[in-house]
């Protein structure tokens, strides 16, 4: 029963962190400091996505992954609002490792599911690990490009310097490598089938086909 207890705690912590994000929205509204409100609202929505998936599609993401999603968003929004990006040296890099590992984990879930459900695709474990690292790095590059584009268009300063963005990318690679190693290790003692089953993707797929059919019937 120890596992269940940990799960309950993770859930509680996630809720607490979401409350923190709500607090950021309120504090922003009261103090008239609107910079972080859009990010906080967006993060709140994203952190609710797993529950929405669960309710509407019966798709269950691993609880640890849920927690990781909320944690990454919390570190970005709440600490960002409290000025950690300016005050704590290397905060930027901590959030980068977190978000990169999150991207890698979601990529892992995605690619294992593809491996299981698409018959013409077969991805052995070493390739899976390689894929995750490349996926995370590619995402990191796109991320830096978006930051750069944002800076150019709106005059914000998301990128401080060359070394800053390069070290960001180094940490992206670091986060991706950790998840790739952990994921490959995880699959040595859980078969991809069991992992995918635990996500209840079959239920989700049934739901989606039903929804699509209903749509078709209506039009």
């Amino acid at each position: 029963m120890g596992g269940a207890c940990v799960k309950e705690r993770l859930k509680l912590l996630s809720r607490a962190m979401q409350a923190g994000m709500v607090a950021v929205v309120m504090a922003g509204l009261i103090t008239g400091n609107f910079t972080w409100i859009p990010a906080a609202l967006l993060s709140l929505f994203v952190s609710e996505v797993p529950s929405l998936l669960r309710r509407d599609l019966r798709l269950v993401l691993p609880i640890e992954l849920n927690f990781w999603i909320v944690l990454a968003l919390f570190f970005h929004v709440v600490a960002g609002f409290s000025g950690f990006y300016d005050r704590v040296p290397g905060w930027d890099h901590i959030t980068h490792v977190l978000s990169a590992s999150l991207v890698a984990a979601l990529g892992f879930v995605l690619v294992v599911s593809i491996d299981k459900y698409v018959d013409s695709i077969y991805l052995p474990r070493p390739f899976l690990a390689f894929f995750i690292v490349m996926f995370t790095m590619a995402f990191g590059v796109v991320w830096e490009l978006l930051e750069f584009g944002n800076d150019q268009l709106t005059g914000s300063r998301l990128q401080y310097s060359l070394s800053d963005s390069m070290i960001d990318m180094m940490f992206d690679a670091f986060g991706g490598t950790i998840v790739a190693t952990a994921g490959a290790h995880y699959l040595t003692h859980t078969s991809p089938e069991r992992f995918v089953e635990s996500l209840q993707l079959d239920h989700a797929r049934e739901r989606v086909t039903k929804l699509v059919e209903r749509r078709r019937g209506m039009s």
């Binding site: 698409v118 013409s120 390739f127 590619a138 830096e144 060359l162 390069m166 992206d172 690679a173």
Partner: protein, 218 residues
Amino acid sequence: MEAERHMGRSIASVTRDQILEAELSWISSLVLFYSTVYLVLRLDVLWVVFGIVALSLYVLPIVTSRDPFRALPWEMTIVLSLPILLHVSEGSRALRETAVWWDDLTSLAFAFSTSTIGFLLTIELRMFTSVRMNRPFAIFFVIMFTLAISGFWQVGEYVGDVVFGTQSQATNGAVMGIMLWSLVGGIAMGIVYDVYLKSMSAKRMKALGLVSLWEEPV
């Protein structure tokens, strides 16, 4: 049939076109080879790694099939060896100072060539390992591979600059420009290779040993 594949073809069965194609491909690969040797002498680590990877992917099908006509299509070999040639040629340095678009061109050429390596990976993984991809996945892989390599490349240059005091990177903007070109080049080549494989004649595909590599498993 099986024995024939392993032994290679007798020279009589090879057409003039095939000889010409293989020659073009081998000559282009020599450019890659000599550039790599030159860069080894200059201790240009990143480019040496690039050259060795490209050469291995070039040689692998030839060695395993023991058939010199299983060389990559010559147009692909040219795309593969172009950026390394631009990199080693002294001309590019002079041009860089006169033509403002020169850096963009070399970045784009580099993106083309990394996406070619990604494309070759999808093909040779299919040939030599149990990895199976379908068409959309392979295109996604090519684009993702190009982006990721450009990221690792820039990090590598950055580390090199810090450790060895070289100056391969200019400003943040310049580096972002290179990565932007790799995004553009990666997407473009993902589409190009999709169309390329679809439109390649069955005869030529068979001659090159690329049969059904990107297709659904038979």
